[in-house]
Symmetry: none
Subunit: 238 residues, 2 copies
């Protein structure tokens, strides 16, 4: 995540001014994730201790300190709206549409994260499902807007390469996002204990790398391609 | 707060020279806040310990180390005058007015913070109210100047978009500032113990994000809009 940040920011001079805000925000998303993954790492290390008794097999034990998964939700509350805004900015829609889409998708996605948290920290399965269902309402709205609502704007991109990259970014968002509700369900279907916690952490971490770093590389590729198209346009004799 | 700092500073080349000082200070405010929030985080972690005995329910206990809320007041003493100065700078008033307003609002707001602290660290409710009242005198002066005194200058902004953004920044300041005296009152109305401390910390933190990071985004939007207006003005044939 930290390396992705440095890559995006070092690429800033290589894109035209129109795409620098999008690329700046792309780097901020992975920076915020870097910070929270360090906090998650520390919290994990404080919650579990691995040791062997008398040189025998290693055992994992609880230290008594809690593993705080709240860091993920604070991270998502900040990064998920920013991720959607970076996609909207790189599409370079008319200004009015940019502002209204940023507000709508930004607020809906923040609401989605906020509604997920009360269920995540519950042991009671029916309460977990209740918050999962509530959170899925803004989730479906955002995914539907990305998959269907932005299809027309995609076709207006300045080159076929740019259009297919924007399509890829939209579908990567939809696919990587769909991972989260399934990982959330790991504990809701009755799995519990260390194995469930491990599947959940591995699942969320893979989804985060796809949705932030890999998605960010696509945003950079779109910004590069569109910058090249704009610059070659300026050099034409007409 | 840290991400906001980086965003503002990476945007420096995208605004004209007239607005770079305002944008630099905007980033300094969120940087100072980043530093103090790390200190607050560490002080909080040292004051409370969360642990479960024998794998049972988690309990929060006092460690005996004090939670030092003084960091907030040192932060505000530095950032609050700077926040007002960044707003005055981005308005691009005549130089004389800029200097005199910066002194008046800067000193009044520093006095407001300094008068609040003796009450904040008091248990005695009547002493808390005494300092609250004293602190409200410079508070009212600053809020009145922002709400009424700057109305005329707002109408002189170079484009309707810039004028409405400046209005939004002035009102966000007034609204987010009004949160602080109410949060301060949480303990003055007799609430005490862990719940009161938690409400106070959550309240101050939300107000800080609004008054520093979100307000900073508005300052950047004003600087961008006015830079675009100035640059398009230069390209006109007349």
């Amino acid at each position: 995540m930290g390396s992705a940040t440095i890559f995006f920011w070092l690429q800033l001079p290589n894109v035209t001014k129109s795409y620098r805000t999008a690329l700046t925000i792309t780097g901020i998303v992975t920076l915020i994730a870097t910070y929270h993954y360090i906090r998650i790492f520390n919290s994990w290390s404080e919650a579990f201790v691995v040791a062997s008794k008398d040189g025998g097999d290693y055992e994992v034990k609880l230290t008594g300190a809690p593993f705080n998964d709240g860091y993920r939700y604070v991270d998502w509350l900040l990064t998920v709206p920013l991720l959607l805004i970076e996609l909207i900015l790189v599409m370079k829609l008319p200004q009015e549409e940019t502002v209204s889409l940023s507000w709508k998708l930004g607020l809906a996605s923040a609401l989605m994260v906020a509604l997920g948290y009360p269920g995540e920290i519950q042991e009671d399965l029916s309460v977990r499902w209740f918050w999962w269902c509530l959170s899925m309402i803004p989730f479906c709205y955002v995914v539907f807007t990305l998959a269907v609502g932005l299809a027309e704007s995609t076709s207006k991109q300045p080159s076929p390469a740019a259009a297919s990259l924007v399509s890829a970014a939209r579908y990567l968002t939809v696919l990587s996002w769909c991972t989260y509700p399934f990982v959330y369900m790991v504990k809701s279907v009755g799995l519990a204990g260390p194995a469930a916690t491990m599947y959940e952490q591995v699942g969320y971490s893979i989804a985060d790398v796809m949705a932030k770093a890999v998605f960010g590389v696509l945003i950079w590729a779109i910004a590069s391609e569109k910058s090249a198209v704009e610059e070659s346009g300026k050099l034409l004799p007409n």
